[in-house]
Amino acid sequence: MSHVTPESLTEAACKVLDTIQKRTTPLTPKERLSIPAQEMPTQDPAVRRRNVKEVALGYTPEQAQLESLRCLQCKNAPCIQGCPVRIDIPGFLKAAAEGDFLGACGIIKKNSLLPSVCGRVCPQEVQCQENCTVGKALKSVDKAVSIGRVERYVADLERESGKTQPPVIKPETGKKVAVIGTGPASITVAADVRREGHKVVMFEAFHKPGGVLVYGIPEFRLPKSIVQAEIDALTRMGVELHTNFVIGRTRKLMALLDEDGFDAVFIGTGAGLPKFMNMEGENLVGVFSANEYLTRANLMKAYDFGKADTPIYRTGKVAVLGGGNVAMDAARTAVRLGAEEVHIIYRRTEVEMPARVEEIAHAKEEGVIFHLLENAKRLIGDENGCVKAMECLRYELGEPDASGRRRPVEIKGSEFIRDVGTVIIAIGNDSNPLIPRTTDGLKTTKWGNIIVDDNGKTSLDRIFAGGDIVLGAATVILAMGEGRRAATSINALLEV
């Protein structure tokens, strides 16, 4: 894949936009379909392999406007059906197509609190863009209107312009709500509840707020400054934030309601207990959960050699087990830390990979080597207990399983050895047991996810939950949707 420079992308966009703007008649649908889909300008793969700066550079104004002009303004708006928070997508694209970018951002913000974040990390290709008529007409979801990229552009523009309108906050009600966790679900709840005039106090176990947005998703995909801007917006609204405060330990959940005067609690603690494979050698030195590897690299800034105290393994051959976004994030982080070779090992094929197509493509561009239909069977250590190799097995695809994906079946006798110095296990997370274990009567599924009703309420009065602690590992936008639902319930509860 050859890299197109941002300059040439802009130049091409300017030419087309110029022609369109000289017209006096409106564009016909056919003409809209013929506007070239705007590619996202990116850092050159050869350069970005050696830095942690954001890979996708964002549209230029011309690209954003041109891409918005591709929208057919379908009356039935199938895109909205694909959006978990039902953003008025044709509405904001129309404003953007007219060059009213701040107006476009205002339309998005009616439904989504974190457009800068969602524009970057939402899997649009399986949500809004999957339903897009343009993509259908051009017979490829890749040709759909790049809704997420325009969203990112207008949200970034608004943030950088300093013209962000602080939300109106109703008069103080004297009611108090505790929000546990500071990830996307919690951020949404905090904002929605605070707007109604209730006092909001957030509790974060780490020393920095943002949850998975800061410990998990790497800087090159979501800059920390963007997350911090969202947190700053909350504190400006009067939301109180306690870091280094782990509910269940520093304070029991029930004590918040019974002794500290909170009227309601939202639990948004995420999916925080890494799964391992229960294979031989998994506890050897040099074997990490993706959570650990990414937390070291992101939150603890281990990429900043010499400055950061938190160490990380950075050289040699790295194998990442798994095929989701977290696996791609770990692999691409390993590349940036200077690994000689980075291998993704996945037991199905690329089609079944849960990672976003864009992330897979970026990983490949950066030199990550993919091994499909293959999985680790056991890890082999040296005399010091450090991992030195892994025994792998080859797989083939069998019948579809419960997830609808074809089940990987191991090929008997296909064992072979692969040399590795670091192994990162990225096969997902179970839910964190801390709060359920320390809160009597809080019902969970057998996987430890907190059970909630249609209003986001748990088995206990005045306690709500949402995001990955309810869903299992999901996406930022779904967590926000859950947060919005719980916030509505909390506000209704406090109204009486």
């Binding site: 520093t250 890494p274 506890n283 040099g286 990490f288 650990e292 160490p311």
Partner: protein, 291 residues
């Protein structure tokens, strides 16, 4: 909620060459903590590392927790340089499952080096629950014996030994431990906290006598809440997280060799940082003497 925890250092005492005691203002932790639990400390929220430290004591009325630590790495060295009135940026806790305390009968409590610090609240708790307490304290040499008075006051029987014989018996803690286990009736429980190698051999010493043995593990951690799995150990063939499943485990089931290897995972990188830290200190020292 009465405001933020300030994490100010209220008291600092150097107990030996490289062992320090600090009392920190941390009212939330002081109120909630139970024997067996620990805290995580970070000195610089931007570039600092997070390290687990055991709690030696707590005063819920004053709102303070006491930590005793050995300056062995960059962060503990920097922590040791802090003075009364200084604050620590991040203190998180109390973490881990509290010790299971009940009336067992006779409990033999073995502490090695600074392992005596986390042992102290457990001994306190076990004593309060009505157990007969035998304390065995071991150290390399006399100056490294800590909390002797406190432990003597709680123990029904107190044995101290040093590797070099400079104080008490010249022996490793496993020697008196075996003797105690050989008594009739044998102790109902052994608790051993100290360097991994000591805990390993304590567990081996009690095994033939069938005395249940609890050990408290201190592994490499980042979050301390179950999120990273860096602290994982093999216990009875299963993977356990020290931060949420522990820190206390059945000493007869812990794979100590694997744990010790995992503790050394960053030794090379840390040695580098540690040397750098010593160099920096030397430079500072020279600059000070010059000015």
């Amino acid at each position: 909620m009465e405001g933020r925890t300030v994490n100010t250092i209220l008291l600092r005492k150097q107990l030996s060459d490289d062992v320090y005691l600090m009392r920190i203002n941390a009212p939330h932790i002081a109120r909630e903590r139970l024997p067996g639990q620990f805290i995580i400390v970070q000195l610089d929220n931007e570039y600092g590392e997070r390290i687990p430290l055991t709690i030696a004591d707590a005063d819920p009325v004053e709102g303070s927790v006491t930590i005793i630590f050995q300056a062995v790495g960059k962060t503990t060295h920097n922590l040791a340089e802090k003075q009364v009135g200084d604050t620590i940026q991040s203190v998180l806790g109390p973490l881990g499952q509290p010790t299971h305390i009940e009336k067992f009968g006779t409990v033999v409590c073995v502490g090695g080096g600074i392992g005596v610090a986390p042992l102290h609240p457990i001994v306190k708790g076990m004593k309060a629950a009505g157990n007969r307490i035998i304390v065995i304290v071991g150290a390399r040499t006399r100056s490294l014996v800590i909390l002797e008075e406190e432990m003597r006051a709680l123990a029904d029987e107190f044995i101290v030994c040093t590797d070099d014989g400079s104080y008490g018996r010249k022996a490793l803690v496993t020697e008196p431990l075996k003797e105690v286990c050989g008594r009739v009736p044998k102790p109902n429980l052994a608790v051993a906290i100290g360097p991994p190698i000591m805990m390993k051999f304590c567990a081996e010493s009690t095994r033939p006598f069938g005395v249940p043995t609890m050990v408290s593990l201190n592994t490499i951690m980042i979050d301390g809440t179950g999120m990273c799995g860096g602290c994982r150990v093999t216990v009875g063939g299963q993977t356990k997280f020290v931060c949420v499943d522990g820190p206390e485990f059945d000493g007869h089931k812990v794979d100590f060799d694997n744990m010790m290897q995992r503790l050394k995972a960053y030794r090379k990188l840390e040695d580098h940082a540690h040397n750098q830290c010593h160099l920096d200190a030397e430079i500072r020292e020279k600059e000070r003497s010059r000015s």
